[in-house]
Each structure stands twice: as structure tokens, then as C-alpha cells.
Symmetry: C3
């Protein structure tokens, strides 16, 4: 079953046309927000600010850069664990994220930063664009090694769109809190990706089974991704929280949750293998579940010990998922999940949504202070009569909406990606960089010379 | 001499029980500090702050993240230089640090942030916890490749405890300044680790000599660790200094010291090899000695040229150490120091303590300004009559106390780790990931096929 | 043609003598600036600042650290793509940058921070020193693999000097804006390096052709460099912009330009190869051209869509350069450009200078606001009568001056480096770490055993 994976005209065409579209749309719509505009001096007086340091840039830029690293190095290198798909992992992640952030600036801008016909952007928009693309990187994890770059760009286009709609429903219509994106990023992104990979099910994927594993150094490259995700996750969950205590608290809660998660992951990784040895797949992935699982509640008064509990539980759930659920999903439900995003993002994302709903429902003026209570949940304007338990209900509704959007959206987009025009590889060529990349000859020639010891090495 | 390295029940048990203990203790003791608590709005008025930007979070969070990277990527990857111990280097460092920061939040909290029966934490506590764990990562460098993960966890438990006691004696009882931890982190951590490795002396370690070296790519992985430690060290030494000029000055001094250190390291690395070639071991390690050696004095008025001198000297001492002292320590004193922490942390740490004592003793109101002088050394309350020379004396006493704590503590903890119940590997299996990790088959199979050129490569 | 590459006395001598010179010069000249000095408390009152957070440290330190990572990890790892020159790439970059920042602190200090016989330094000086060294790292890219460490140090000494003179002419005499250094860093650095490599032309370089390529994992190491440069470039271009809106705007413009650049690079990489496959050389390099090309204009009101256009164009120009210009430069003009800096820095740098001139010339009070207009271009004092179009003319003059300085300086320095006393390797030993580094035996022994399958692997 030879497939046409020739990209020479298709990929350039998509990239160039879409970039032109971005330029036109940015030209029509996107302008600098007040804090990035040269009129800032006058603006500052109006906003009654005494110093340049109160520009939102200084509140959020360090967190933005950490998030930026998570998207490009974190996700990119996490997926280099495959022995022969490192270029695709890092390179396609780079491509889809670079396109995705442009489209996300527009989509999210229309929904959230639209004023007098213009989208006004600042550092918070850059963070939100990175967040939005994060959900695409997650979905990419499910289909890693099995799709063409064009399919990835098409998926990005649709997923960013759906993400923005879902985010609008949650944040604006349901008035849900989700600063770290347990629901909007992880639950939505993961179930979207799992639905897409289900639709794209490849019955003959065992033909490339020898390429689905890692080699020693590819596992170390993946650990670069893991550690940057793990270290910067406190920045991720606090990046768009309210200035002051909320950002501070989000970082602490996330730090605690992640620390606990490492211990339970190591425990279960050893416990669930007959020989008691640790498995790099678990260390690379399940140690991060703690960050996902406090995504909604980190900015709330979850407390450090609450964070330890959530982190511990999510590490266990995630590791168990790798050992038992992933094989089950593949064999019974025909869901081929290359990176195991079901364990790292889907289940911990659900936990995060639920913990967020409970934490919100349990909020009291006593715990938050009178002002803090109103500020934390934005109980102002039409929402000033909302009670914590009602907020908890809306939070729960946010999970359901995210799931529905993911399933329906994923099914439709999966259907589109199944069209035989996108240049994906045949089953036996999956997980192989050689299909879309110029690959240096080292390993081939090594293998060749191993079998032909009389020939000289390299030309 | 077959040893039982089976971890299946022991490691999970330790991880899970200890994590439960953390949850209980956090539940009883740990709460958000004022600047991370939702009552902040009211607090802010009381503290007379005009803007959220004056929350300590914005003074320290960027430095915190840099320190965080140093602990997990810096130390983790620095130790991946061994050809077959990359998983253990990064993975066990990850495990012990994730446990250590939880326990450090408690221990340091009881000593320094305890109020009305609660430990109140903020971003500065997170930094201090990372610092404390840094001393464990240093000790880990001495025993790298020779211990089981359980031994590492046990060592972490005790070392964090002793670190906190030592830190309390230095900072609170002796009123010593040590913002970058030349004494508390490096001197203590290194001599502690060296004592432990002395007690755990393995006479037959040459059985695994072929695995103690590096390969080409493992040396490049290690350089990732080196560079992140080197680049972020200015953040390390300035992270908990006073707001304003002290943080600013610490960063500049450290930047200068590290720059000078690179040149003298390169010079001596070439000079001390017969063929005049540079040795990656020196570049990976001795270039960092300049950061260690200004750990105490960086926030003082050491001046940029003073920093260059300290950095130059420490680079020389450290490189000479690798060439002459490490073999001597092993052959004569039976101190097997895998990463050469004696050269990177112990000697430069001592230099740092001494330079700090001298710089403090030489302080004058003229150099610091009247207010700056009092602020820099906290000569307030019961300490308002302290003179610089007395402060210098107390600084020197801090070195001695740290050494004593390290030797006595290291001997006891080494004794505990010698018990034959922790599952460490036999001498011939040291420096080998295969003992505790599921290792992908690449290298074995390569080796196999090299000797059996007729068999096809990988199944 | 055996050459003497023995470094044992030459390299240590240069390193040590120069470091001593640095210490003496720092001792005579360099002191802490007001914001890093312990007199800050009094200074603060004089400067009428209300809080420590207004110390310049908090405005610029996060950006400084990002720039620092770009210089040491970004440039260092970007150049590890060669299969056998990873140590030299990372290690020599480390050496020259560590020396260069010290010398740059002095040179730039004399020109810009000299007061009452002293150079007063703060975080902005550290950033500028890193910037200056950035131009040396760029030039290093052209001669990578072909020079001895001493040649690199000599080049650094001269290039930093010339950089500082050129920068002084542009910023102070021509009153040109160039915050991200399209002209001062990239145009100057690249054409300087290209001139040097032209003078050092090696007619027999094809003798080491087998070592000029990459291997699979070296390409992944290089991607670490690429991504850190790409992600932190917004910090690079905004690091020394005015506080407030200018820093904010620079980051946004750079973010947009880089995102667009990725798409056009991927498009042309695929389009220009017969088989339509993506080439890692392009992804590693041309994706960064967008950052270079907005270096001058990022802090101006370039607007997000303007940035997309500049980024798109520069990605195309750079990729086309790799495919067509680099071979042409080598075969016709005898310019051997190892990393293709002509495509990544020279041409995009020129684009950046031109875009900057146009953007400046097109500035109006309407777009910038009355105050913003004056602040953005510093139209105060003797420059208060400058019009945008005159400013545009001076910007264009800045490009010409930078080019002249690069060509003349590069020719002279190239001549000096051609002297047969610096210990460079023979043509057949270029691109080979073994010349200057102790290299672990893995690959040699592998190759050996491949041809001698009966011998046991490793001693």
C-alpha cells in the first residue's frame, strides 16, 4: 500500500497561503494594546499608574517566557523519545505551534480583546495564544508519528478555533475559573486528540512496531522536555492569574503538587513492573500529572497540603494508566495513543476540573477574606449573587462542555484528516523521520557496515 | 557477591509512606504566607503597599525559576556524563530533589517561618527549599552510580534535617551572612557527601571501571547541565538577598567571577595535560567554581575586580584538584568521589567562606554608606553593636561549624546507609542504569550484532 | 602538511595573561553603578523612587537571563550540529564569550558608562556585554571548525573593540536606534566573520568533507540551540529598550515576526528540495531570521502585521540563501561559511537595518503620541529638531558604517589570524574535536570493532 507522501507543493502551498491570510487578518484587526502602544505615557496618567513597573509586562513577562519554553522545548523534546522520530517531534511541534499562536491571537482576540473593530494585544494575549497551542501539542501527542505535517496544520486550524469557542463558553458564558487550563487546555486537548486518533485508527500499525520504542539517548532528550515542563509548570498555572497573591499562590500550589507527584509516580512505576525496575515512560510523563491536576484550583485556596494530595493521586492514576489503560485503549477501543496523553492529560485534566469544582464550592469568606473572596471568583456585576456551591456547579458544567466539544470536534476534524489528500505515510513508515525529512546517513550506514564489516565506514 | 537490588516493594513503600507523612505534616503545619493568601488585599493596606507589584513574588519569582532549573536540569544533566548512568543521574536527582523540597519546606519552616503554630510559606521558602536540596544534589555527586534510590532517599531525609540545623546555627545563632550558600550549601553539602562516600568505600570498584567514563554524546548532555548552572548562578547567589541593590550587586559579582573562572579553568586544563588538550571533565565542572566561591560575598561590596580575582583563583584550584587531588583522595584516603565534588564544591566552598569572612571584616561605613552598612549586615537589634571584624570572626566560625556538621553528620548517615538492607548494587554493577531501570535495547543489540554480523539488526 | 596544534603553553599563556589584564583594568576602572551599590538607600531618595522594585534590576534581569541563555546555550548548541565538533562548538563558544563579556564591559563602559574616571556598571551593562559577545558568536559561526582556540580569543579581543567603536558611532554620533542590534550585532558581526573566513580561505577543505555533516543526534542537540534562540529572541530585542511600553512592544513584534518566519522557512525548505523533504539546516537556522530582521524596528510602532511581513520575507530570503547563496559564496567568492551566517545574520541583518530606517522615517506624532514620539526616538537636546525622515537617513547611514567597519576590520583581523603562530589545524583535521580536546573513545572503538567483530567491545 504505497502512499504518496510527496510534500513539495502541498506543504509550501498551505504554509504560504495561510501565512498570507494571517498577514491580511492581522493587518485588518490586530493592534497594540494600551500598555504596549507608544501612547502609553498618556495612558499611564489616565490609568493612574505611578511607575512603568506597573505595566502588565513586568507582572507577566517572566511567566510568559517560561510558558513559551514549555510549548516549544517542553512538548517538542518530550516527544523525541522515539528512536527515529526526533526531527518530526521537535520540528512539527515547532511548525504547528508557530502557526497556531498566530491563529490563536486572532481567534482569542475576537472573543476577548476586541474593541472598536480592533484586537488589542499585550503580553497576556501572547500567553493565552501559547496556552491555546498547548492543547494542540497535547493532541499531537496522540497522533505522533502517524500524520503528515499538512494534517497537523489542518488540525491546528480547527482545534484552535474550537478551543477558542470552548474557552469563550467556559470563561464568559459559564463564568468558570480555569487559569491553568485543566478543562480548557488538558481535558479538551486530550479528548480531542484521542477522538482524532480513534477516527484515524490504523489496523496495521504493528508493521512499524520496531520503531515505536526509544533508544538510550532519545530517552535522555525526552527528559529535557519533561524537566522543563515540570519546572516551569508553576509559571504555567500562575501566568494569567490575578496580580499579586493569586499568582503567588498558584505557583506554590503547583510546586507542591508536582513534587508529590514525582514520588507516587516512582512508587507505582516500580511496583507495577515484575522486576521492580523504573520505567522511563512513566518518569517522563506521569511526573507531570500533578501540574495538570491543579490547573483549575491552583489559584484558589487549595492549600499546600491539598496540592500534595491532588499531586499524589494524579501521579498514581497516570502511572496506572500507562500500565493498564493504554494497552486496553489500543486493543479494545482502537485508540492508538502514541505518547499516552490519556494518562498525562485526559485523566489528570478531569481530576483537575473536579478538584476545581470542589474547591470553588467549598470557598468561604472566612478563608478568602471578604475582598479576596469577591476578587478570586470575580463575583461582581451580574455574578455578584453567585454562591460558591453554584460556582462549583458551573465549574462541573465546564468539564462536561469541554468533553462534548472535544468529542464532537475531534470526530469532525478526524473525519476531515481521513481524506486521502494530506500525504500521510503508510503504516510501515510510521514513526520514521525519513518520510518527511532529509536524514543524515549515520545510523543507516552504521547498520550497513555492521553487516558488511569489510567495507570501510563512511565515504 | 550477588546483591539483592530488587526494588519492587522497598522503593514504593518508602516513597508512599513518606509522601503520606508529608501530607499529614503539611496538613497540620503549612499555610500560605500573607503575600500568597487571599487575605492579601487587606494585608496590603496594613503593610502600606501601593501596588501588587510590591508583592515579594515579583522580586524573587524569576530568580526562583532559575534556581529551580539549576537543581533539576543543572545538577541532573551535569551528572549524565557517565556513558551508562544517564537515567540514574537525571532520574534519581529528580526523585531525591522532589522529596527533599517537601521535607525542606517543613524543616526550614519550623526554624524560620513558624508563627502561631503554622509554617507560613511564600516564594522565598520555595527558593530556600531548592537551596537546601542543592546541598543533597552535591552530595549525590560523590556517590553517583554506587547507591540505590532508597539510599538516596534516606540520605536526603537526614541531610535536609542536618542542613536545616546547620543553617539555623549559622544564620540565627551566629548571625552569619551566606546568601549564596558557600558554607551552608557547598561546604556542608560537599564534605557531608565526601564523608558518606568514605564510609561507603568500595574496595573493588575498579570492576566497573569501563563504565566510569563518558561517551561523546554523554559529554554533550553534561554540558547542558554545566551551562545552565553557569548561566543561572547569578540568580542563585542573588535569589534571597535583600531587595534592591543587594540582589543587583550579587548578580554582577557572580557574573564576573564566573567569567574569570572559565579562562583560568581552560588555561590549567590545557597546561596540566601532557598533550595540552582540553579535558571535558574540567570544562564541565571547574568553570562553575567561581559561582561557589562568591556565594557568601556576592551580596557584599566585593566589587567586580574582587570577583574576577576570586573566580580566577577558584578555577585554578578546582582544575588542579581534578588532576591531582581526586586520584590522591581515592588511592590514599579511600574517598571515591564520582563527580569530583571535592574540586567543584568543597574547596571552592571553603574559599567562599573565607572570602566572605574577609569581605565582611573589611567592611566600612564609607564603602557601604551609613544605612547600607547596617542593612547589608543586619546590624540591628541585639547585633547593632557588632563591628565588621567581629562579624568576620563569626563568618569564620560558620565555616568551622559547617565542617563539623558535615563530618559528624556524614559519618552517622554513612553508617546508616551501610546497612545491608537498602538494595545497593555490587561493585561490578555500579554506574549501570540496567540495575534499577528498564533500559531500551539499542546498545546491547548493537554490540550483539557487531559480533554477529550475519544476524539482522533489532527484531 | 603537518601543522603544530600543540596548545599546552600557548593557550594557558594567553588565557592567564589576559585574565590578569582584566583584573588590573577592572581594579582601576570598574565599580558598581548607583543601583547596585550599597549607597542605594540614599541614592533612592535622591532619585525620588518609592520602592526597591523600581531598581532597574527588576525591569531587566529576566530579559538579561534570557539573553545570557541565548549566548551560551543558544549559540553554543546551535553549532553542535557537526558530527565531531560538539566539544569545540559548545566549549570554544563558552571560552570566547566568557572572555568577551569581560572585555566588552570595559570597552562599552569607557564609551557609555564612564563617570569621574570610573566605569559604573549595572544589569544593563551585563546585557550589553552579552550583546557585544553575540556578534563574536556570529562570526565564530563562519569559521567554526577551522580555527584554534587562540585564534578565537584573538578575534574576540579585536572584534569586541571594533564592535564598541562601531556601536559608539551609531548610537552616540549618528543617534541611531538599534535596540535589538540588527546593525550593530548582526550586520557587523556577520560581515566581519565572513571577511575573516574569506581571508582565511582554505583551498583544500574538501579533505575534511566527511566531517562537515551532521549525525542524527547532533541535529537534535543543535535544535536545543535553535529553540532557545527562537523562544528568547523577544527578550533579546526588548532587553535594553525603554521601560514600559517600548519593552512590551519589542517583545510582541519579535514574537510575531518569528512565528511567521517558521512557516515561510518550512515552505521554502520543502519547495527547494527535489524530494520535497524538510532540511534540518534550514529549520535550525532560517527560522531565526525573523528575530534578526526586526532587531532595529521591534521597539518602534512596527505593528504586529508589519512584523509578520518582515518575518515572512526574512524566512524566505534565509532559506533561499542556504540553498543557492552558500554554495555560490564558497565556489566563486571563496567564502567558506560553516554555519551559513550569511543567511541567518548578514542578509536578515541588512533587512533589519532597512526596515528600521523605513519604520523610523514613517513615524508620526499621530501614531506615537506627542510624548511617545519624543521618547521613542530620543528627540531631545541637540536632537529635538530631528524629523523622522532625517532619522531614517541616519538609520540608513548606520547600516553603511557597520558594513564598512566589518569589511575593514575583518580584513585586518583576518590578516592577523593568518599568521602561522596560532596553532590552527591542517585542512584534513578541520571539524574534528580530537585536535584540541581529549575525546572519549566510544566512536573510534565502535568503528574498530565493527571491522574486527571477533575482538571484545571496550577494554
Amino acid at each position: 500500500m504505497a502512499k504518496n507522501t510527496y510534500m513539495r507543493w502541498r506543504l509550501p502551498l498551505v504554509c504560504l497561503l495561510w501565512e498570507v491570510a494571517m498577514i491580511v487578518l492581522f493587518g485588518v484587526f490586530v493592534r497594540f494594546g494600551a500598555e504596549a502602544d507608544a501612547h502609553w505615557e498618556e495612558e499611564k496618567r489616565e490609568m493612574n499608574l505611578t511607575s512603568d513597573i506597573e505595566n502588565d509586562f513586568y507582572f507577566r513577562y517572566p511567566s510568559f517566557q517560561d510558558v513559551h519554553v514549555m510549548i516549544f522545548v517542553g512538548f517538542g523534546f518530550l516527544m523525541t523519545f522515539l528512536k527515529r522520530y526526533g526531527f518530526g517531534a521537535v520540528g512539527f511541534n515547532f511548525l504547528l505551534a508557530a502557526f497556531g499562536i498566530q491563529w490563536a491571537l486572532l481567534m482569542q482576540g475576537w472573543f476577548h480583546s476586541f474593541k472598536d473593530g480592533k484586537i488589542l494585544i499585550g503580553v497576556e494575549n501572547l500567553i493565552n495564544a501559547d496556552f491555546c497551542v498547548g492543547s494542540v501539542c497535547i493532541a499531537f501527542g496522540a497522533i505522533l508519528g502517524k500524520t503528515s505535517p499538512i494534517q497537523l496544520l489542518v488540525m491546528t486550524l480547527f482545534q484552535v478555533t474550537l478551543f477558542s469557542v470552548n474557552e469563550y463558553i467556559l470563561l464568559n458564558l459559564l463564568h468558570v475559573k480555569d487559569a491553568g487550563g485543566s478543562m480548557t487546555i488538558h481535558t479538551f486537548g486530550a479528548y480531542f486528540g484521542l477522538t482524532v486518533t480513534r477516527v484515524l485508527y490504523r489496523p496495521n500499525l504493528e508493521q512499524s512496531k520496531d520503531k515505536q520504542g526509544s533508544v538510550y539517548h532519545s530517552d535522555l532528550f525526552a527528559m529535557i522536555g519533561t524537566l522543563y515542563l515540570w519546572m516551569y509548570w508553576p509559571s504555567f498555572n500562575s501566568a494569567i492569574s490575578d496580580h499579586g497573591d493569586a499568582q503567588h499562590r498558584s505557583a506554590i500550589n503547583t510546586y507542591c503538587s508536582l513534587a508529590a507527584c514525582v514520588l507516587t509516580t516512582m512508587a507505582f512505576s516500580s511496583m507495577l513492573q515484575k522486576k521492580g525496575k523504573l520505567d522511563m515512560v512513566h518518569i517522563q510523563n506521569a511526573t507531570l500529572a500533578g501540574g495538570v491536576a491543579v490547573g483549575t484550583s491552583a489559584e484558589m485556596m487549595l492549600t499546600p497540603y491539598g496540592s500534595l494530595i491532588v499531586g499524589s493521586v494524579s501521579g498514581i492514576v497516570s502511572t496506572v494508566g500507562y500500565v493498564y489503560f493504554t494497552p486496553f485503549l489500543e486493543s479494545r477501543l482502537h485508540i492508538q495513543d502514541t505518547c499516552g496523553i490519556h494518562n498525562l492529560h485526559a485523566m489528570p485534566g478531569l481530576i483537575g476540573g473536579i478538584v476545581g469544582a470542589i474547591t470553588a464550592a467549598a470557598a468561604t469568606e472566612d478563608v478568602y477574606g471578604k475582598e479576596g473572596f469577591i476578587k478570586a471568583f470575580d463575583f461582581t456585576g451580574v455574578y455578584r449573587t453567585r454562591t460558591p456551591s453554584i460556582q462549583g456547579g458551573f465549574q462541573a458544567a465546564g468539564i462536561v462542555v469541554s468533553l462534548l466539544m472535544a468529542f464532537v470536534g475531534g470526530a469532525i476534524v478526524g473525519g476531515i484528516l481521513k481524506l486521502p489528500i494530506w500525504g500521510d505515510a503508510a503504516a510501515e513508515n510510521c514513526f520514521e523521520d525519513d518520510v518527511y525529512w532529509e536524514v543524515p546517513e549515520d545510523e543507516e550506514s552504521d547498520a550497513y557496515h555492521m553487516h558488511n564489516p569489510d567495507k570501510p565506514a563512511s565515504p
